[in-house]
Assembly symmetry: C2
Homo-oligomer: 494 residues x 2
């Protein structure tokens, strides 16, 4: 199924009078600014993902301003057989929050549900509406001298509800976990319009099946998240950053093991950058200066955060001394100022920007055991070298989590349609490398629509049956984000 | 329903020839030492829980020695309509691993599935069969200079599979999380006998619905766990322990907030002990000496663990100095030796032993927000004082997790049947106090059979429907641990 199909009317299967009846029903529960017609120019930014590669059409974009309005909208959709695509900041990478226009659907944007509800400082928690922008939530925590550690490139526009629906990762997973690990409470409108009230701030709660964990990461296919209560942490007083050069990924991973030990798991980030990525950082920012004396096959950006009562600098120095002693490190620098730390991080950020600037490319989000990270990169490089002459692989990512973005740049000048077609085949080979190592094709980006086929193909029959049974148990009508994660079902299919 | 009913033949609903046919079928897939007849004296220890309060009868106790044998047993049970009660170390507190004898059932003990499968040191993980005793697993990690942090009173006999099935907690949750947070991979025999293969060592894996998290804590009602892969941590080089006196639980919780900050979340335990518990420690161990100069309403045992590169002692001293300065602390001592640290911990352990020695009592496992811990204790004490004259409340527990064991001793000399009957009513009042604070009646012990009624009563209609739908989706025949968590269903009910 092509997801990049031309927008239809977004009301496939509805005749004009049905369409009008549905819109009138929405108008009965939402104010004027709560409804944007699917054909309006204002709707455009909700109808395609940020890459522009995926999108379609919808009957309307609905912007409920209260939880009750979300419930009313979901009930109306159930009555009229209209599909619901929940949408946060629309920053996802797997086409999970768009409508493909194949059936009557509405986008339900959570952006007007955007209040911080409560900070409970003594409980180290914060309650928020689902539509609160991640950065806003982080700022609210910081204002209380607390930290909400989720940190992603999109944090200025993604929303906490979307982070929870997709179980977002990012650069601080190492220390603080995925979004899944940060959520204590959840409030969700189920496909029947009822409110699932799990808005608890409890750290320990063993009351039966953990529905919360099932809903987290379910990508809007089981319900619409309307509120969350997240864990906060003491805001670190000291942050120390190092930029290191290593001879190989194997050496980098051995260094990581040592770093966990020496630093008592106070590391907040351990990012690797293949030396081949540096020209991309330079492409994005010609002023890039790598703080290493020589060229190294692998660069590492490492960060440690601690309280004022711990000497973080001394800790990093101890680590580097032990690493040099053990022959695990080529060269390295500890940032002497916040500005220098930012310059270290800029290399990691600029290479991503540089990739986009160079043009279309094959992107992955693979994960393997930490012990298999060097093998993953070796095997993926060997595969590209053997089967895809002229294509340029680059490897970087969250090595401390076993999560590598192994991306591949097409030969310069290759026509876009050939990049797309060949890239799809190349991608399958990379997925196979990860799969054969017992790895995952999706460490943190999810499944959505663009990876649904590889997801389903990788499931054993009893796993596939469990996925279907869960979807059917929660959403028997198949109206929640149809086509995302599981193939769409319609009433007629049942 | 009384669970403490007399043992029946354990084959209710089967006639003699059916019973023989079933046992013959089991004999076809298990060796002789894999089957213990339900009437044999050897079966007794599997048929009742360790309190002796709960138990019943079973057709047989089955002891499969391989995963394939577990699958074969589960398939046979499905064919013959025999219920399966998975059992680990049988150390649970909520009657989750016993058969009530109301229908034909077998206990499936995992004790012969007891191999450590693999330690992947570079991945900081360990793979084990479900029947490995927790202490054995901890020892195996320690032999590699690693730590498996789950720590419970029953660790010498409970099994890792049971820990996962019940999402066990314990004293180190503060730093390392519940069992749920420690499990990367899971291998489960589903009720149809198929093997659900989720034995991954991945730290990040966003492939669809998180079935692993649904299975964790499902108390054997959705399948039989046969293998797990758990996270390991660097083994701390320094462990520092303090014993403190505080004027109130409010002060203790404020101290906890300060401790998180000052110690950079390196705390591994923050246990509170109401001053009223000390006589129970003395009852168990007359040599008990509290390391505080005066009597204090609240005692705290706090522990911090770190690498050799961090001065843990200095960190604790900084914390105590800041706490005294802020008026948050009455008195305190830092252990000067491992022996002294053990003496501090002995007080916490002995009070539990002393409770048992004093005799039957009402036990709880409540959790609330950290900010509500003082309120919980105040309100529960007020309730007991007002409504239960002569009963003696004691409060202790994992305050850093908001988890308080608020227990109540009956007046001395009260007849056992009156303790049981009045205790049941008293308990409802304690549950109500926690519930009204948005808390949980089960922080870490689970639901099992003994708390099923309060569990179901606390669910909203859509939550109850979701619980039923999940159970039905995985176990349509209702053969997995019937009566645990959800009311039993039989084929006839459907």
């Amino acid at each position: 199924m092509s997801l990049a199909s031309e927008p239809s009317a977004g009301a496939a299967g509805l005749n004009e009078s049905q369409r009008e009846a549905v819109l009138a029903a929405f108008a009965g529960v939402l104010d004027a600014s709560g409804i944007i017609g699917g054909g309006s120019p204002d709707a455009a930014r909700y109808l395609h993902d940020w890459t522009g590669d995926y999108g379609g059409a919808a009957l309307a974009v609905l912007r409920p301003a209260t939880v009750e309005q979300v419930q009313a909208v979901v009930r109306l959709c159930g009555e009229h057989g209209v599909a619901i695509v929940p949408q946060g900041g629309n920053t996802g990478l797997v086409a999970g929050a768009i409508s493909d226009g194949a059936r009557p659907a509405v986008i339900v944007s959570l952006e007007r549900l955007n209040r911080i509800r409560r900070i409970d400082a003594a409980n180290f928690t914060l309650q928020a509406d689902a539509g609160v922008v991640l950065q806003t939530l982080k700022d609210a925590a910081e204002a209380e001298n607390m930290l909400f550690p989720l940190a992603l490139g999109a944090q200025g526009s993604c929303q906490i509800g979307g982070n929870v629906a997709t179980n977002a990762g990012g650069i601080n997973v190492l220390r603080y976990g995925m979004t899944r690990d940060l959520v204590l409470g959840l409030e969700v409108v189920l496909p029947d319009g009822s409110l699932w009230q799990g808005m608890t701030g409890l750290r320990k709660d063993n009351r039966g099946y953990n529905l919360k964990q099932l809903l987290i990461g379910s990508e809007g296919t089981l319900g619409v998240i309307t509120g969350v209560e997240v864990k906060l942490f003491p805001r670190p007083a000291n942050i120390e950053t190092a930029y290191l050069g290593a001879r190989s990924f194997a050496e980098a991973m051995a260094l990581f093991g040592l770093a966990r030990r020496v630093c008592s798991d106070l590391l907040t980030a351990f990012e690797v950058i293949g030396g081949e990525c540096i020209p991309l950082a330079v492409l994005s920012n010609p002023a890039t200066r790598v703080p290493l004396a020589d060229e190294w096959p692998v660069h590492i950006v490492m960060e440690l955060a601690c309280s004022a009562a711990i000497d973080g600098r001394a800790l990093l120095e101890t680590l580097l001394a032990e690493a040099f002693e053990a022959g695990l490190l080529g060269d390295g620098a500890i940032a002497q100022s916040r500005a220098q730390a930012q310059a270290f991080w800029a290399i990691r950020e600029d290479l991503v920007e540089g990739q986009a600037r160079r043009g279309m490319h094959v992107r992955t989000d693979l994960s393997v055991r930490l012990s298999d990270v060097p093998r993953l990169i070796d095997q993926a490089r060997a595969y590209v070298a053997a089967d895809w002459p002229g294509w340029l692989p680059i490897a970087y990512g969250h090595a401390g989590d076993g999560n590598i973005h192994f991306n591949v740049m097409p030969p310069l000048g290759l026509a876009p349609e050939r990049i797309r077609e060949e890239g799809r085949r190349l991608l399958q080979g990379l997925y196979a490398v990860a799969r054969d190592l017992g790895g995952s094709f999706s460490a943190e980006h999810g499944v959505g629509r663009s990876r649904r086929d590889v997801f389903l193909a990788g499931l054993a029959p009893n796993q596939r049956a469990a996925v279907r049974a869960l979807k059917a148990a929660f959403d028997p009508q198949g109206i929640m984000n149809p086509g995302c994660l599981v193939p769409p079902v319609t009433n007629l299919d049942q």
